[in-house]
């Protein structure tokens, strides 16, 4: 939805229908700047951008999105949209002249809209020769997703030695992983004024249709910066909590040499499998593991049974202002002690502005990252250890 527009009744319904028809929808939420839409479209390597506008100014706004897409090398990405009766046929003519592909007028049946979108925009992505910048990276990830889905053998990430530090982020749904990642992003942007950060956000696909609504960008307010590369990945039936394309995507991002830090968010445990199998089994994909827990995780028994904490380098006890945080703190401390030394627990309230707990998590990651870089420079350690 455009800047200054919060009318999301139509778009939420259309998202549900699109996902039911097998489309992966990257939902950006309301009040989006044209630049943010174009940036997201390039990084997500989408087939088309749909805009729902109910607050006027659509002629200017749609045109702005088209020109921003062109400026970011996404001139091939189609723009469609609607706005009930607010977009008139006369407006539509102007908008089409300026490069908008299609406007759905008021009263268009949902079925017609779905047929149009799925038949008009579905296509197999090409190799992406000639694409540049984020769009080229994004296309490489798209191809990795396609390969992962067709059952091709996945490549393990090659070592590039270019120093990106990769952190896996896991934890139960509702613990606040996305919020914590976004807050860590804001810390990174402040601490590294020239550096770039990448985020891979996994969300579950719908089992029946194969479609998905990938909504992590809605709440990620600090990703609206060209120094952030954010990519949503649908799990596409993979039960391990991350897309099959995750290993290769990490490799692509690492090898690009663009990023200092890469955060990989798994689907919430309990939502879809156990990401430990991916992050933890065999040679690890990530340099460090961050577990996010909220105090109401279900008690000690579950904590031990799922061995949640065993592979974690940092445990963030988020929402630590919750009344039950006291008990959770003691339990987690006990588990960490009975396992190995060297793991730390940090209490956070990621939803709070400038939370000092989040600062500590960021500092811990930065320290590990520096240690990693130093070992890499000395040629001793394994970069993915």
């Amino acid at each position: 939805m455009p800047l200054c527009d919060g009318h999301d009744a139509a778009v939420t319904t259309i998202n549900v229908e699109l996902a039911r028809h097998g489309v992966e929808v990257i939902y950006l939420g309301y009040h989006c700047a044209a630049s943010a839409i174009a940036r997201a479209a390039a990084q997500e390597d989408v087939h088309a951008v749909g805009i729902s506008s109910y607050n006027g100014g659509h002629v200017v706004f749609f045109s702005e999105v088209v020109s921003q897409l062109r400026a970011r090398g996404g001139g091939d990405i189609a723009v469609f949209g609607g706005g009930g009766g607010t977009i008139t046929p006369a407006d539509e003519r102007v908008m089409r002249r300026r490069g908008v592909d299609r406007i759905f007028f008021a009263g268009t049946p949902l079925g017609e809209m779905m047929t149009s979108v799925t038949s008009r925009y579905a296509r197999v992505p090409g190799p992406g020769a000639g694409l540049g910048g984020d769009r080229a990276l994004a296309r490489a990830i798209t191809l990795a997703e396609a390969a992962g889905q067709s059952g091709k053998r996945m490549r393990r990430p090659r070592e590039s030695g270019k120093g990106a530090f990769v952190v896996g982020v896991a934890g139960p749904g509702g613990a606040g992983k996305s919020t914590l990642i976004d807050e860590l992003t804001s810390r990174f942007l402040r601490a590294r004024p020239a550096g770039r950060i990448a985020i891979l956000a996994n969300d579950p696909s719908q089992p029946d249709s194969g479609g998905a609504i990938l909504g992590d960008r809605v709440s990620a307010i600090y990703t609206q910066d060209d120094r952030v590369f954010f990519r949503s990945l649908a799990t596409r039936g993979n039960v391990s909590g991350v897309s099959r394309a995750t290993p290769e995507s990490i490799g692509i991002l690492r090898n690009s040499g663009e990023f200092e830090l890469i955060l990989v968010e798994s689907v919430g445990i309990g939502q879809d499998g156990d990401p430990f199998q991916v992050f933890g089994a065999g040679p690890r994909l990530v340099n460090a593991m961050l577990f996010v827990l909220a105090p109401h995780y279900g008690g000690r028994i579950q904590l031990q049974k799922t061995s949640l904490l065993r592979g974690a380098d940092i445990v963030a006890l988020n929402k630590c202002d919750h009344p039950s945080a006291h008990a959770a703190r003691a339990e987690i401390a006990a588990v960490l002690e009975s396992n190995q030394a060297g793991r730390q627990m940090v209490e956070t309230i990621a939803a709070r502005h400038h939370d000092p707990g989040v600062d500590k998590v960021y500092e811990a990651i930065a320290r590990m990252s520096e240690g990693h870089a130093a070992r890499g420079a000395a040629g001793r350690g394994r970069s993915a250890s």
Binding site: P2, L3, C4, D5, G6, H7, D8, A9, T12, T13, V16, Y27, G29, Y30, H31, A33, A34, S35, N55, G56, G57, H58, V59, V60, F61, E64, G84, G85, T86, T88, P89, F105, A106, G107, P109, L110, G111, G174, T179, D182, I213, G215, V218, S219, I221, A351, R352, H353, H354
Partner: protein, 580 residues
């Protein structure tokens, strides 16, 4: 247990009390006599009037019964208009013809272009009204606390509402109206930036009517942050900070603006975003009780702020709307009295109703006149204290003059031309079908209260997206019902006829006007360039120190624009993190 389960229990307990009192009235002769005496007195006090063709009518129609149980059920269960639990009406006579002036309940929402354009529309709309009742719609940038020169808002300036950047725009907006008049009242539909906008309103009024005019200003500002999080999505600062700024404003208004309603707790946008009528009522009431709890938690006196709370609901064509106002008035009154121990004034659920925007369609759009008329009738049957009727051209545009006039005349036709509301109160209220429906609606509202309670109350549930997901589910179901034809919409899925897209005049703001606004803002910022930094610094330090932000804003807005204020506050408290 949160306060909501307490309210649900209190309503159940009250219903049990009514039932037991009705039994007692049938059993105990002394009690029956006492009720009979009350009933007789009430009846004797009722004045009689005549319809234009001479039929005599009582100004209040009471059930034709002398049976003690039925009397108890009426007096305790519904209450005569203006009496606890206020099912019938908040006040005794509502819209009855008083022969003299009186204020009309019509309040028409308007806002387009620049301040002077909306001012002109205000003068047009009130030219045939007895009182000055203005209602302001703001454009998108203003609703999000942004200036007209903010990057990326170019096409949005003055679209869908009026562009207000500074206190000077606010002066232009109300030029020519004596806002200190007893029958003047101003409504402003704005939420996240409400404190800054109200500060501009007060500052502009002080420039014109003198330093002490705040006590005379009457009206309301929407400022409902909870429904923004749950449905409308015009929220700028994190929830906690937003609620603090709001409570600062409410407390200042309670002390300094005795005629001002500093919040309008709104279900309208919840319904427009997809909620069913029952969900609308339940979430709105629950939000209302949450505000009471919050303010009480800050040490405010419910007796002082309780009477300053008012409500705003949507009215569509679904059958539940026949009783929604009744059910809400009753639950609010019982909750405020029995849970919060509030006095009579704070028990009143004062209701503004707007007809449903979502029910209007562009196919055969002139049918929207009929839809709005029926919704308006329902709104008055619900004894709304004020009403806005939508214009038939709203699927396409900000209302044009022609359809805005028809919408306003619909109100006069219902209230003045028809005899339904002129002669007798309760002509259509409280029939058996209505009673059945009302009980069911009430039961379902209380069910949602208990669900919210189990999730830890409104704020905790909201953090888990409970309200949002319920509203979105209901919205999706509604669209599917239209799609399948289960929910008939004439012209859309029934009696569809091919017609060319109608030629309607569009109220759009031309780029030249938008540039003019940006230029004015530039001049304002340049003129105040030396004073603004110090004012913003003071605002920042008050915000950090936990002082009353609203009191400081009254000074800040003298030299700072809305966007400058928003950026300053955001620098201290951060940004709202949107939810799916």
């Amino acid at each position: 247990m949160s306060v909501l389960a307490g309210v649900a229990d209190a309503v159940d307990a009250y219903n049990a009390h009514v039932a037991s009192e009705a039994c007692r009235a049938r059993r105990e002769e002394a009690f029956a006599r006492e009720l009979g005496a009350r009933w007789g007195k009430l009846r004797a006090e009722i004045e009689w009037t005549r319809s234009p063709s001479g039929t005599p009518l009582p100004r209040l129609a009471l059930p034709p019964t002398d049976e003690p149980g039925a009397i108890a059920e009426y007096l305790l269960g519904q209450g005569a208009p203006g009496e606890f639990p206020f099912a019938n009406a908040a006040y005794r006579e509502m819209y009855l013809d008083r022969g003299d002036s009186g204020e009309e309940p019509m309040r028409l929402f308007a806002g387009l272009g620049l301040a002077e354009d909306t001012n002109k529309r205000f003068h047009y709309l009130t030219s045939h009204q007895k009182s000055i009742r203005l209602s302001t719609a703001f454009d998108g940038p203003t609703l999000y606390g942004l200036d007209s020169d903010h990057e990326g808002v170019a096409g949005k300036v003055g679209e869908g509402g009026v562009a207000i950047d500074t206190v000077e725009d606010m002066e232009r907006l109300f030029a020519g109206f004596d806002l200190t008049r007893g029958d003047a009242s101003v409504s402003m539909t704005i939420n996240a930036p409400a404190p800054a906008i109200l500060a501009m309103f007060v500052a502009a009024a002080r420039r014109r009517f003198g330093r002490d005019c705040a006590a005379q200003l009457r009206g309301t500002i929407q400022a409902d942050m909870l429904k923004e999080v749950q449905a409308q999505n015009e929220i700028v600062f994190p929830v906690e900070a937003s609620l603090r700024f709001l409570c600062d404003m409410i407390e200042w208004c309670v002390g300094e603006m005795p005629r001002w309603y500093p919040i309008s707790i709104s279900g309208y946008h919840i319904a427009e975003a997809g909620a069913t009528p029952v969900q609308q009522a339940a979430f709105t009431l629950a939000n209302g009780f949450t505000y009471v709890e919050l303010l009480r938690g800050r040490g405010a006196d419910v007796g002082a702020f309780g009477p300053r709370l008012s409500f705003f609901l949507d009215c569509g064509l679904d059958v539940e709307y026949l009783v929604l106002g009744r059910a809400c008035r009753r639950i609010w009154a019982i909750g405020m009295r029995d849970v919060f121990r509030a006095g009579a004034q704070a028990q009143l659920f004062k209701l503004h109703t707007q007809t449903s925007g979502r029910s209007l369609v562009s196919a055969g759009f002139e049918n929207n006149l009929t839809r709005t008329a029926i919704e308006l009738l329902l709104a008055y049957l619900n004894c709304s204290n004020s009403c806005h009727s939508n214009s038939a051209d709203e699927p396409f545009t900000t209302p044009t003059e022609h359809y805005a006039r028809l919408a306003s005349h619909a109100q006069s036709i219902i209230l003045e031309e028809s005899g339904l509301f002129r002669h007798a109160m309760n002509l259509l209220a409280g029939g058996p079908g209505m009673a059945v429906l009302e009980r069911e609606v009430e039961k379902r509202i209380l069910g949602i209260f208990r669900e919210l309670d189990e999730l830890g109350g409104v704020l905790a549930a909201q953090e888990e997206r409970y309200q949002r997901s319920k509203i979105q589910e209901a919205g999706h179901a509604y669209e599917k019902q239209i799609d399948s034809g289960e929910r008939p919409v004439i012209g859309l899925n029934r009696f569809v006829f091919k017609e060319r897209m109608p030629r309607v005049n569009l109220a759009r703001t031309p780029p030249s006007r938008q540039r003019r606004q940006i230029e004015r803002l530039r001049v304002f910022k340049k003129r105040n360039a030396r004073k603004a930094p110090a004012a913003l610094e003071r605002l920042e330090s008050v915000t950090r120190a936990g002082g009353n932000v609203f009191a400081e804003l009254l000074d800040t807005v003298e030299v700072c624009s809305l966007g400058q204020v928003t950026a300053c506050l955001g620098g201290v408290v951060g940004r709202f993190r949107p939810m799916v």
